[in-house]
């Protein structure tokens, strides 16, 4: 193995496991105890980078569990899911799975869904800018083609289902929220994550609308998505929903 690669392999091992420092120390100048102290600085930097990246994507979970516990989560998540990129934007992609399986978060079973919600909001924040799509354009599609319409939903749009009141939890932890800090834990909520201009919006999504959007996001045609939805939600009002969705610029185009 070339020397440079061998050095980096030893350095990496010492960063991830303090017990591996002696193999590296032979390659470093200075007294062993000083080298130990200096490697601790690099180890702290490594965890700080994970904490910072996760804090940017999961500000609500950070508030819910507290800074100190969150730092511990960041350390453990990084240990089991090390970063693979020089860009930490995608680092937290598997935080939901981690929270679902980590022993010390089992008493907070809503955390994985809250993580999915925050991750969807994180992705929406940096999603492509898209102009809305004019309702008039929909009306211009010939009636015989309308069943075959496939909507292009605005970049970043996502539906996050939960058995917990995740939209409420998210809302009361937003900066500037000054309402009552109460949560009705019996509420199952589905979130609709979208962009309004440059702002990310998180709203409660009724089950019928969620079903329609999910079917459509999977690639179903307007007719198929509507019939799937109506099968489980016979009161679904497609026309009213589409008018609202277009007005909110949730749709940015369509093929038919």
């Amino acid at each position: 193995m070339p020397d440079l690669l061998a050095f980096q392999v030893d350095f990496a091992a010492a960063l991830r496991d303090g017990a591996r420092t002696p193999a590296l120390a032979r390659r470093l100048a200075g007294e062993t105890d000083i080298v130990d102290g200096r490697m601790a600085i690099y180890r702290a930097n490594m965890v700080a980078a994970a904490d910072k990246a996760l804090s940017a994507a999961y500000p609500v979970i950070r508030q819910v569990v507290g800074d100190e516990f969150f730092h511990g989560l960041a350390r453990e998540y990084q240990r089991v899911t090390p970063s693979t990129s020089g860009d930490l934007t995608g680092f937290g992609a598997r935080f939901d799975d981690f929270l679902a399986s980590f022993e010390h978060t089992q008493a907070m079973p809503y955390l994985p869904d809250l993580a999915r919600l925050e991750w969807a909001a994180h992705l929406a924040y940096g999603a492509a800018d898209a102009p809305g799509w004019d309702a008039a354009a929909l009306a211009e599609i010939p009636p015989e083609r309308q069943d075959a319409i496939r909507f292009q939903w605005s970049p970043g749009l996502a539906v996050v289902r939960s058995a917990f009141p995740i939209v409420r939890i998210w809302t009361i932890h937003q900066p500037g929220f000054d309402g009552a800090f109460e949560v009705d834990w019996s509420q199952a909520e589905t979130a609709l994550v979208a962009r309004d201009g440059f702002a990310v919006t998180v709203t409660r999504c009724p089950p019928d609308q969620a079903a329609f959007i999910e079917a459509s996001l999977r690639g179903a045609s307007l007719a198929d998505a509507a019939s799937d939805t109506l099968e489980h939600h016979p009161d679904f009002d497609l026309g009213a929903f589409l008018a609202r969705a277009l007005a909110a610029r949730l749709v940015c185009g369509a093929t038919y």
Partner: protein
């Protein structure tokens, strides 16, 4: 390889809490610097802020994640995203660090020190050549702050960078705080190292603050520039002439006015030393 006209004068790092104030006040600055990786996004508020910044100031893209010195591979997908950003932003300056950060598919997202050996120099020269050909422009490579030193080093970091610039035509981003941090951590004379550099290769200077942990200076970019670093800056200005100079601040971000005061101090020094040159 020629660089586009570089902005003469002093700039600051543009960080999210200052966006609004910078756009409203439009302080007189030669350029704004951002971390490249924070803008590897398709769209949204951050990209919009960068577009606004770009309309008002020359931009310097400062990368922290390309990991030029990783022995096993250069992350081509990372370089491709940087290339896309460079095309979109048309920055005045593009810089990276003389460091490694990843091995075996694991990224430490830190700026880790290299042994300054012939082997490392050959690798870095190949990488810098490749990056410059992909970006179609000159890259500035920054000296690192470090807390450990490799026993195998065959030359100083300064000599390594000077040779890298000679081989590849890259420029140097001379971080005087990093040089000072290392001088204290490893016991060398920073001023002497400055004397070994060729001013023509220096494309930018960074000034920043650090913190002290036990016996070690840690490069936190979270404090004002200290007196010994201002002294080095005077020496650099006298020796190399005026260079685009950045006040770099990343942690415990203070009020914008603190950054502007530091920038004004740097501009004063550059002007005074130019008058003496």
């Amino acid at each position: 390889m020629t660089a586009p006209a570089s902005p003469v004068g002093t700039g600051i790092g543009l960080r999210q809490p200052h966006y609004r104030e910078v756009f409203e006040r439009r302080p007189a600055l030669a350029f704004l610097e951002v971390h490249s990786e924070n803008f590897f996004l398709e769209g949204g508020a951050s990209m919009h802020a960068l577009e606004r910044a770009r309309a008002a100031y020359p931009i310097s893209l400062h990368g922290v994640g390309l990991s030029l010195g990783s022995a096993d591979r250069l992350a081509d997908e990372h370089l491709a995203r940087l290339e896309r950003l460079v095309r979109r932003v048309q920055p005045a300056l593009v810089s990276e660090h003389l460091c490694w950060g990843a091995v075996g598919g694991v990224h430490f997202n830190d700026l880790l020190p290299l042994p300054y050996t012939g082997e490392a120099l050959a690798l870095l020269a190949d990488r810098v050549d490749h990056v410059q050909s992909v970006l179609k422009r000159q890259l500035l490579v920054e000296n690192l702050s470090a807390y450990v030193e490799c026993r195998d080093s065959e030359m100083t970091e300064t000599a390594f960078l000077a040779e890298l610039a000679r081989r590849t035509g890259c420029g140097l981003l001379l971080d005087l705080n990093n040089l000072y941090v290392n001088a204290v951590n490893f016991g060398f004379d920073a001023a002497e190292r400055l004397d070994a550099l060729d001013g023509a290769s220096i494309g930018q200077i960074h000034l920043a603050g650090h913190s002290v942990v036990d016996d070690c200076l840690v490069d936190t970019h979270g404090a004002v520039v200290c007196d010994p670093v201002w002294q080095l800056y005077m020496q650099a200005c006298r020796r190399f002439g005026p260079k685009p100079t950045l006040i770099e601040w990343d942690t415990d971000l203070p009020a914008l006015d603190v950054l502007l005061q530091q920038a004004a101090q740097a501009s004063d020094i550059a002007e005074r030393e130019a008058a003496h040159a």
